[in-house]
């Protein structure tokens, strides 16, 4: 199979520049850090601003209220959000948007694509695309049940949840959304319970499962882009420190032991960029290879982002461990991202199934 376009277009670079400017202006890291210590860690004003620029519906056709770009452009935005550890519900909203787009929904999509309504899909945040998504019960036409640890649900006003063989849209006001204390304060999760909540059927039948899997794959693609942005920023921060910090009468960046570690992070990031771009291109072109590409991007990006954040901390020494530098924000985001939408290990297992690397024969299977 051929490899699509892996380099950034001029349009994508322009989009990157405008998002980076916006974030530098509205979400410098001290502001992000300060916000994590308030009751409202998510910056809903900034989210509204990004949505006004088209950031909420990049992959949605204009007939449904989107901006007629693609998941490639959305991935570039995700990179920038990762660079800034931006406290926005972009990822959860994008998974919900992908789900509605896959199901060809015409009622909810325009408001969601425009960012007038922020949406979230009610599944456990660690669910990988190939795994069964959570569902709740339907009794007397009302929804009952609970799902813990839902991504980007604290600020959503539209919840998409599976019950039986159908997908329902629920007004968040009709559900109980309990923000859970999270490792990454810039990206809160919430426990959600429905206690007889009314819902509207969005779609039913096998299409729901297929669309859910696809939406989670697209989520994995965007998350990989975000992890790339984070890893790249961590390396920049580390390099800057290596160029200024002196010990033993020398800049510590002169020491080969340290510069080799920085070089290794750069090598890993170069690989992740190729894998993430490939996955974004597969999502944009609806390529048959998307399941492999998405799992590959996650399997590569999760450990790379963790490595970059961890090395950034270690190369700073003691000061890197403190609340006073942004390093901890990146480490927390990197670790939680490595669990979100499936760990690297789960994605590797999925790849094993997809490309024919069969698992260990189980005991007695031969008999």
């Amino acid at each position: 199979m051929s490899v699509g376009d892996l380099i950034y277009t001029d349009t994508e670079e322009q989009l990157r520049a405008s998002v980076r400017d916006l974030l530098a202006d509205r979400a410098p890291w001290p502001a992000v850090l300060a916000r994590t210590e308030t009751a409202e860690p998510v910056d809903t004003d900034l989210w509204r601003r990004l949505a006004q620029l088209g950031g909420a519906g990049l992959a949605v056709p204009s007939t449904w209220g989107g901006v007629d770009a693609s998941w490639r452009e959305a991935a570039v935005v995700a990179e920038e959000l990762g660079r800034a550890v931006a406290p926005l519900p972009f990822l959860g909203h994008a998974v919900a948007t992908a789900l509605l787009l896959e199901l060809g929904d015409e009622d909810l999509l325009p408001a969601v694509a425009a960012g007038e309504r922020t949406a979230a899909v009610v599944v456990r945040a660690a669910t990988a695309a190939h795994e069964n998504a959570a569902s709740v019960d339907l009794r007397d036409g009302r929804l009952h049940g609970s799902v813990p640890a839902v991504l980007d649900a604290t600020t959503a006003d539209l919840l998409l949840v599976r019950a039986g063989d159908a997908l329902y849209a629920v007004d968040a006001a009709d559900a109980r959304v309990t923000p859970a204390p999270s490792l990454d304060r810039t990206r809160p999760i919430a426990d959600i319970s429905f206690d007889g909540a009314p819902g509207t059927v969005v779609a039913s039948g096998p299409a729901v499962d297929e669309a859910l899997a696809k939406a989670l794959q697209i989520g994995a693609v965007l998350l990989a882009a975000e992890q790339l942005g984070l890893a790249q920023r961590c390396l920049e921060i580390a390099v800057q420190y290596l160029q200024t910090r002196r010990q033993f009468g020398r800049l510590i960046g002169e020491f080969q032991a340290l510069k080799h570690r920085a070089a290794d992070v750069w090598v890993r990031n170069s690989g992740v960029r190729a894998a993430a771009r490939y996955a974004a291109d597969c999502a944009a072109t609806d390529a048959a290879d998307l399941p492999v590409a998405a799992a590959l991007a996650q399997a590569a990006a999760s450990p790379a982002a963790e490595l970059a954040a961890q090395e950034c901390l270690q190369l700073h020494g003691g000061i890197g461990f403190t609340w006073e530098l942004p390093v901890h924000l990146y480490l927390k985001r990197a670790k939680s991202s490595a669990i979100l939408l499936g760990t690297a290990d789960r994605h590797r297992a999925a790849i094993g199934d997809l490309v024919g690397i069969p698992a260990v024969p189980t005991e007695g299977a031969a008999a």
Binding site: D5, K259, A263, D264, V267, G271, L296, A300, V355, V360
Partner: protein, 400 residues
């Protein structure tokens, strides 16, 4: 510029060459000479030097058309140093007389080349090399007399010519006292000893140079300017021409996946974890190579080439090691340790033990992984260079 008309004109030239020399009836060497003279050897070489001064991407069209017509290739396996290193170095730094003498037989494979760079005491620190070249007398065009020992010389036993870097002034700091030459490998005083390596093969040679006379006309570049010429050669050594990425799952990872499928009895959960990790890394490396190719094609080459070699070495070593583990008892076998000349063939056709052993060189040859990491750290990331004790000291005063 002749041939500047692009692909149409190029096709016409190919047709004209084939009309003039029918590959079916023309001796291969004869055909390759005619091809060189027609400017179709390498279309990006200068006009009159085997090329037409065109974009190198057009070469593929020419190669495909000529190969379809049954034209002979120029044996790139044995000619790798000539085409990859000697030709670009001569084109960049050689005089017209030198190009007239060496370029055509180099390209046709009539004369093979080798490279006398590394020494037992100068590997990563190449500029510290000790082989000396001393002028025989005061005349400005007097011969040079070369003495010293080189090592890791691929093809020395077959090469007619060698690229040589030698020290012509020991009284200045090491980078400034070097001069670059071409040496006739048939000259008296050259002794070639095959060096047996870890696989049993003799892929490399030691070359001893005792009072070897080199005419001044064989000097490439100015006296004392050898390091700049060497840098040019090394840059070409590290350039990888990618004509599109290999298919997913090809190469070493394909061998080990094959072994996994063929040996269900050897599978364990731990081995599967290692295999899947390496599959992911190999696929990422493949996509990174594809991306680099696209960047180059778009005229925006990135520094990712250094990452490619580092990853290639790491992966090749890890994958070939896993492959032996997967083979169990069969991983203990190694068919042939006899001293022998290596046969140039794809790695996939070699035995797994050979792949394991040969891959140990991947992180050493063509620049060690440590040196490549320094390059990434200093030139890409902008980290400060390590302090050097030898930068301003005359070479002769350096501790050895």
């Amino acid at each position: 510029m002749p041939g500047g008309g692009g692909v149409t004109d190029l096709s016409a030239r190919v047709d004209a060459l084939l009309a003039q020399c029918d590959p079916a009836t023309t001796a291969p060497q004869e055909f390759l000479r005619a091809r060189f003279d027609a400017g179709l050897a390498r279309v990006d070489y200068p006009v009159g030097r085997g090329g037409l001064g065109l974009d190198p991407v057009l070469q593929e069209t020419v190669d495909r058309a000529l190969s379809a017509a049954g034209a002979p290739g120029n044996d790139p396996d044995n000619n790798v140093i000539g085409l990859g290193m000697a030709a670009p170095t001569l084109l960049a730094f050689g005089t017209p007389e030198q190009l007239d003498r060496w370029l055509r037989p180099l390209w046709t494979g009539e004369e093979l080349w080798c490279q006398l760079f590394s020494e037992p005491g100068a590997g990563s620190d190449l500029a510290g090399l000790a082989t000396s070249a001393v002028r025989d007398g005061d005349a400005p065009d007097a011969d040079w007399v070369v003495n010293g020992q080189k090592v890791w010389t691929t093809l020395a036993h077959q090469a007619r010519w060698a690229l040589l870097v030698a020290r012509t002034d020991p009284t200045v700091p090491k980078h400034r006292g070097l001069t670059y030459f071409v040496v006739d490998m048939q000259a008296p005083g050259i002794e070639i000893r095959p060096l047996r390596q870890i696989t049993g093969e003799t892929e490399f040679n030691e070359v001893f140079l005792t009072d070897v006379r080199v005419p001044d006309a064989y000097r490439i570049g100015a006296v004392g300017a050898g390091w700049a010429v060497t840098q040019g050669t090394l840059m070409n050594e590290r350039v990888q021409y990618t004509s599109g990425p290999a298919p997913r799952g090809s190469g070493p990872i394909g061998c080990v996946v094959e072994a996994w499928r063929a040996h269900p009895e050897q599978r364990t959960a731990g081995l599967q974890t290692r295999l899947l990790e390496l599959w992911v890394d190999a696929e990422v490396a493949r996509l990174a190579a594809a991306r680099l190719g696209q960047q180059i094609a778009a005229g925006q080459p990135g520094p990712e080439g250094s990452a490619a070699k580092l990853e290639y070495a790491r992966l090749n070593q890890a994958i070939s090691s896993l492959e032996l583990d997967l083979l169990g008892d069969d991983g203990l076998r190694y068919a042939d340790y006899t001293t022998r000349m290596p046969v140039m063939e794809p790695e996939e056709t070699k035995e797994p033990g050979w792949r394991y052993l040969r891959s140990r060189a991947n992180s050493i040859e063509g620049g060690t992984s440590e040196i490549l990491r320094n390059i990434v750290a200093e030139r890409v990331l902008g980290l400060p260079a390590e302090p050097r004790a030898d930068k301003n000291t005359a070479w002769k005063d350096l501790p050895r």
